[in-house]
């Protein structure tokens, strides 16, 4: 049994991660600045409400811990990270610098940092027919937004802690993780959740609005797959950045069509060309994860979106009834 800390344990990936590790009979401490009320069951061993931008709180969080999954971050979908650059960078640099140093001080055995596909350079993502991004493609660096720059910085910081202090580091680069119990409204939601919400709220027949021209491409990874891959990485000996994502490239248009089909609604798509759409195309290359972890995604996009849509539909219905 390991004593595990999950920062951001009230968040989307963090709560799924905690449930998974608890089922594996670990001691799981979760820390977050706030906890949404989606989940009723106790999916953790211990829960602390702490602001990890403050160093002393990071020390309290890491006390007695063997392994840290550092998932806490100020983040959101494309609409959020393209507008609030300074705040995102500031908060995340503080959280990550303090968490690294506190983990060192408390002699944590292993530290996993959740990086992002946003760290990859814009110039490799200008075409919808994009080739999958390999881990080494991150340099020379040219992230599309301030969020991506911060992720790169913390990766460097992790590497430095590894070299200087012999700290055991794991770095996962997530590519568009989606699933139930994630943010679906309020401006921080990502494209799959946002589209599920729009479809759930639409009349039948009705219309939905898509950001951009719908031809931008992405690949999406279901949260259960991402969690399983992350734990496999933590338990492996691989101490360099690694992609966790899917290689199935689809357009936002196709994504909306799949969700519409799941809902059974007849929907007309409208396009908001003034809305942010991020890089033109982004796909993951997961050759490395296959090779060193023996991991690849198992849940199909149709299956994952069905589960996600079902959950978001219930949330939307509840929101509507409490208005």
């Amino acid at each position: 049994m390991d004593k595990i800390l999950i920062t951001g344990g009230g968040g989307f990936i963090g709560s799924h991660m905690s449930r998974y590790l608890l089922h594996q009979r670990n001691f799981v401490r979760i820390v977050d600045i706030n906890f949404p009320d989606y989940i009723k069951e106790k999916y953790y061993t211990e829960k602390l409400e702490l602001d990890l931008r403050i160093y002393e709180n990071c020390i309290a969080a890491t006390k007695g811990i063997d392994k840290v999954y550092n998932l806490a971050a100020n983040m959101g979908g494309i609409g959020f990270i393209t507008t609030v650059g300074a705040e995102v960078m500031h908060d995340n640099v503080l959280i990550n610098s303090h968490m690294l140093e506190a983990s060192r001080q408390n002699r944590v055995k292993r530290f996993l940092f959740s990086s992002s596909a946003c760290a990859y350079p814009t110039f490799r993502q200008t075409d919808p027919e994009v080739k999958g991004l390999k881990e080494e493609d991150a340099y020379p660096a040219d992230p599309d937004n301030f969020y991506g720059w911060e992720k790169l910085y913390t990766e460097k910081m992790c590497e430095a802690y590894q070299r200087d202090y012999g700290m055991d580091i794991r770095i996962v680069r997530y590519h568009n993780v989606y699933g139930p119990e994630g943010t679906y409204k309020g401006g921080r939601e990502k494209s799959p959740a946002a589209l599920c919400r729009k479809v759930a709220e639409a009349r039948n027949p009705g219309t939905i609005t898509i950001w951009g021209d719908g031809k931008q491409t992405r690949s999406y990874c279901y949260v259960d797959d991402a969690v399983r891959g992350t734990v496999m990485l933590m338990e492996s000996e691989w101490n360099k950045p690694i992609n966790i994502g899917s290689e199935r490239l689809i357009t936002i248009d196709e994504l909306a069509d799949i969700i519409a089909k799941i809902s059974g609604k007849k929907l007309v798509k409208k396009y908001d060309l003034s809305a942010p759409q991020g890089v033109r195309g982004r796909n993951a290359d997961i050759t490395l994860a296959r090779k060193v972890l023996g991991w690849e995604p198992e849940v199909s996009l149709e299956e994952g979106l069905t589960r996600t849509y079902k959950w978001i539909k219930i949330q939307c219905a509840r929101d509507a009834s409490t208005l």
Binding site: A86, V93, A141, W149, A160
Partner: protein, 340 residues
């Protein structure tokens, strides 16, 4: 000449009476900046943790400034020292020569925490202008591999993707990105300058931390034998004398508040071989150079395109390398050899 004179007079009007904070103000660059700001009748405060800076550097003006010893890795310190300030020159950082940078990456990267605390404190306290001291170390290695390559232009840093050659370069670059984020998000007036190898009196002469000029001056003045120089002497650098750099910084604070980086450096470079020979000549030390090829030597060549600095600031360096080196040697002999 008239244009230059006008510029200098204007900065005096601009800075006079302003409350100005210099972080890292007891350091090499910081203390020279403090001197210049006092000459422009500014109200100067200094914060420094004295890890590398020294009170000796500001002793002569100690009564005319407010000094606080403080560690800016604490956000609270940053908020306290920026209170009620008009301008912040942010120079505090973990720095060092080639050796320190390659052996202490985690320490070097902690500068980022300082950068964040200070700019955020400036925002909270409505500081009007924030100058960030970046570095020539932000440029990609690929543009510094042979002497036929043109001097480095400001937009080269991101043109082909960022690829600085050291953690120090990365942290400096991320500080720039942060300035741009604050400029874009909050409309904050941020100034980014990239000094190229500044040198002069009060530079760090400690062999553990020193850059090439003070390291060589020290060895030459102390008559070290054999006279080791790192690398093979073929690498080249463009050096900037400290007073030239300071002049560029005070011009930039007024004229370049749009988070657009400006080089403050020379386009004329000199090989480390010629530099070592020149220092031996100026110190009157007749010996032969022994090249230590096992030591880090940094990039092959580094020189600055000066077009933007001249266009926007009307700035050009004035002090020749011979003259600057001589002043630096004199200072070292007077101040650093006495206690030995």
């Amino acid at each position: 000449m008239l244009r230059h004179y006008e510029c200098v007079m204007m900065t005096k009007v601009f800075l006079s009476g302003k409350k100005i904070l210099v972080t890292g103000g007891a350091g090499f660059i910081g203390s020279h900046l403090v001197d210049e700001l006092l000459r422009k009748d500014a109200e100067v405060r200094v914060v420094d943790d004295l890890s590398r800076g020294s009170l000796r550097n500001i002793e002569h003006c100690r009564r005319r400034i407010k000094f606080a010893k403080g560690d800016l890795t604490y956000g609270k310190t940053a908020v306290e020292v920026t209170e009620d300030c008009d301008i912040c020159f942010h120079l505090a950082a973990v720095v060092g020569g080639v050796r320190y940078m390659t052996t202490h990456p985690a320490e070097i990267l902690k500068s980022m925490l300082i950068n964040y605390n200070v700019i955020e404190a400036c925002r909270k306290n409505d500081v009007d202008r924030f100058l960030y001291t970046s570095s020539a170390c932000t440029y990609p290695v690929s543009l510094q591999v042979d002497e036929t390559q043109p001097p480095l232009r400001e937009d080269d840093v991101l043109k082909y993707g960022a690829m600085p050659d050291s953690d120090y370069g990365w942290v400096k670059l991320l500080g720039e990105i942060q300035c741009q984020a604050y400029h874009k998000t909050y409309g904050m007036k941020t100034i980014i300058i990239r000094p190229f190898n500044p040198y002069g009196p009060r530079d760090c002469f400690d062999p553990e931390h020193s850059h090439v000029i003070p390291a060589l001056i020290r060895k030459a003045v102390l008559r070290e034998n054999p006279f080791y120089v790192w690398g093979d002497g073929e690498q080249a650098r463009a050096f900037t004398y400290i007073t030239d750099l300071i002049e560029g910084m005070v011009l930039a604070i007024e004229k370049a508040p749009d988070a657009d980086p400006i080089n403050l450096g020379e386009s004329n470079d000199i090989s480390i071989r010629k530099l070592a020979q020149l220092i031996l000549k100026l110190t009157g030390y007749d010996t032969s150079i022994v090249w230590d090829k096992t030591k880090p030597r940094g990039v092959k060549v580094r020189k600055s395109d000066m077009t933007k600095a001249y266009k926007i600031l009307g700035w050009k360096p004035k002090v020749s390398l011979d003259k600057g080196l001589m002043k630096t040697i004199d200072w070292f002999i007077k101040n650093e050899t006495r206690s030995r």
